[in-house]
């Protein structure tokens, strides 16, 4: 469904993303993980049209969408959420979601109905009349998800929708995300909460210093020595396998 080939982006000589290839298949939940500053959000921003890549291509449903404006990419059915939530602060939750819903219809009533349905789906029904600026972190994360979902996407790019949530809230949003996938929306997500990544994803990519260092099923990734080194430092993998051996 989504094909990314040789994607590169440098900021002032620092290669934030360096020749990244990845693909997301329809109906799956795919994760993009990696330490802070690995280039995950930059990759998302390039896919969604917020940052123009220096090189490489982004193809969605066999059509080249590299360098398109965000609203045109949204027209194609690819919508992102923001890691740092970007609510329309003075508007209510309902009005926020309606902006997304208007993407499918110019009719106010139809947009409102759709927004209410989406709010129900993500569990925001009780917060509809509340101003977005008054929402909690968990509320804002859900709002990001709801707005994006209301546009009727084929592929959702979720940028750390679980960061800053407590364990109960994470469990809730994991259920919501699974529900969205089951309704036929493909999901590509950036996440630090490993439990959720393990639980949710069909496939995962690991990015470190702008380079893909591993790809595979979550269980395979978790035992990959490159990944362990990236997260825990040089030599960590050896020590861990050593400890395991000693323990046995």
């Amino acid at each position: 469904m989504l094909e990314v080939k040789g994607l590169c982006k440098s900021f002032g000589g620092v290669a934030a993303v360096n020749t990244v290839d990845l693909s997301v298949d329809e109906g799956q939940i795919v994760s993009l993980i990696g330490p802070n500053g690995a280039g995950k959000t930059t990759t998302f921003a390039m896919v969604a049209g917020f940052v123009a890549p220096d090189a490489g291509s982004v193809t969605f449903e066999k059509q080249n969408i590299t360098g398109f404006k965000p609203h045109r990419i949204c027209d194609r059915g690819v919508v992102r959420t923001f890691q740092v939530t970007q609510p329309f602060a003075t508007l209510s939750t309902l009005e926020n979601i309606m902006v997304g819903a208007y993407h499918r219809t110019a009719n106010r009533q139809a947009a409102e109905e759709r927004a209410r349905a989406v709010a129900e789906q993500v569990g925001m029904k009780a917060l509809l009349d509340q101003a977005a600026e008054g929402l909690t972190v968990a509320g804002r994360k859900r709002l990001e998800l709801a707005r994006a979902l209301a546009t009727g996407p084929k592929l959702l790019l979720l940028d750390e929708v679980m960061a800053g949530l407590n364990p109960t809230e994470i469990d809730e949003i994991v259920t919501v995300i699974k529900g969205i996938r089951d309704s036929g929306v493909t999901i590509f997500l950036i996440e630090h909460v490993m439990k959720a990544v393990m639980n949710l994803s069909d496939f995962a990519y690991v990015l470190n210093d702008g380079v893909l260092i591993a790809a595979g099923t979550p269980t395979k990734i978790a035992s990959d020595s490159n990944v362990i080194e990236a997260y825990l430092g040089h030599g960590a993998a050896e020590r861990m396998t050593g400890e395991v051996a000693a323990g046995a």
Partner: protein
């Protein structure tokens, strides 16, 4: 239809009916003239409000569209003998075109916030200098419009004529703002004001929406220009492109409440009334301006959402009580 049933709808209806009969009951022509001025300024405020209040693009050059419209219909009238009834549509088109031109240049290059404010201010000066130096505008001498009262020329001997004309314009401007609040386009403008990136991510073509917004603002400004020219029968570059008028239209909107249907009207009413009352009761020259200034500072300082914020916060409180 819901408008006709709601409380606001009933108030608007009463307001319109009362406004229609004001000239019948108010004998003093001076007051009718002041009321026309209030309505005219409310209309200009509303034109600014579309781009500034709803779409969040603060222009300091609202007068560009006013002046361009005034010149468009006046040149058609004096040079080609074309009625201002046609001229006002030419003025609307000229204002919208000026909006397209300035919007394209500034939004194309992503100018936002204070940069957009500065470039619109600069453009209004550029337009003034051009109007001063080319011939078809009459240069620095300006354009005199022949005094020929009659509805055909949009000129009236009775101030009530201008009053009614301004009233119609204000009602149209309120209808535009009301439509914005209910439409997808309006929701997109507000989304752009609140967060342009988020709006883009949700499929909003921010560039195009802003262009449409500045064209609506321009069209309304153009119509105001014809009104002014037919009322005062004279325009020259300092009048047509005065920075003072740019400031006035944003002032009445900010004081009344930006991004609201009735903000500009309320702001215009209060500011002009304060100004006239202060002038009437205070004889010391200049002191009335000080009083006016102090009241202005107080309103802006204590009511960040404008005067309309007073009503809104009350509404919220009563709404909360009825819920409980």
């Amino acid at each position: 239809m819901s408008l006709l049933k709601s409380r606001t709808g009933i108030l608007v209806m009463i307001g319109i009916i009362v406004s229609l009969f004001v000239p019948v009951f108010v004998a003093n022509k001076f007051y009718i003239d002041i009321l026309s001025l209030i309505l005219f300024s409310a209309f200009l405020g509303q034109s600014w409000n579309i781009l500034g209040g709803y779409a969040g693009q603060f222009s300091f050059g609202g007068v560009i569209f006013f002046g361009t419209g005034a010149y468009a219909s006046s040149i058609l009238l004096t040079t080609f003998g074309i009625d201002p009834w046609i001229g006002i549509f030419a003025a609307i088109a000229a204002g919208a075109l000026a909006g397209l031109f300035i919007g394209f240049i500034s939004f194309r290059y992503g100018l936002r916030g204070s940069y957009f404010a500065l470039i619109t201010l600069a453009f209004s000066e550029v337009f003034r200098v051009i109007a001063n130096s080319v011939e078809f505008t009459g240069g620095g001498v300006g354009i005199f419009i022949e005094h020929a009262p009659g509805i055909k020329n949009l000129q009236f001997t009775d101030p009530a004529g201008y009053y009614y004309m301004a009233l119609v314009m204000v009602i149209i401007s309120l209808a535009i703002a009301f439509w914005l609040e209910r439409s997808r386009f309006g929701a997109y403008l507000i989304a752009i004001r609140e967060n342009e990136d988020a709006a883009e991510a949700l499929g909003v073509n921010a560039f195009r929406c802003k262009i449409y917004a500045i064209m609506i603002t321009g069209a309304m400004g153009g119509a105001a220009g014809t009104f002014y020219a037919q009322k005062y029968l004279y325009i020259d570059p300092p009048i047509a492109y005065s920075i003072g008028m740019s400031v006035e239209m944003l002032l009445v909107t900010i004081v009344g409440g930006m991004g609201t249907v009735f903000g500009p009207l309320i702001g215009s009413f209060v500011l002009h009334t304060v100004n006239e009352v202060a002038r009437h009761f205070i004889d010391t020259p200049g002191l009335s301006l000080i009083v006016y200034g102090v009241i202005l500072v107080a309103i802006i300082g204590f009511l960040p959402n404008g005067l309309i914020g007073l009503f809104k916060s009350q509404k919220k409180q009563t709404g909360g009580k009825s819920d409980a």
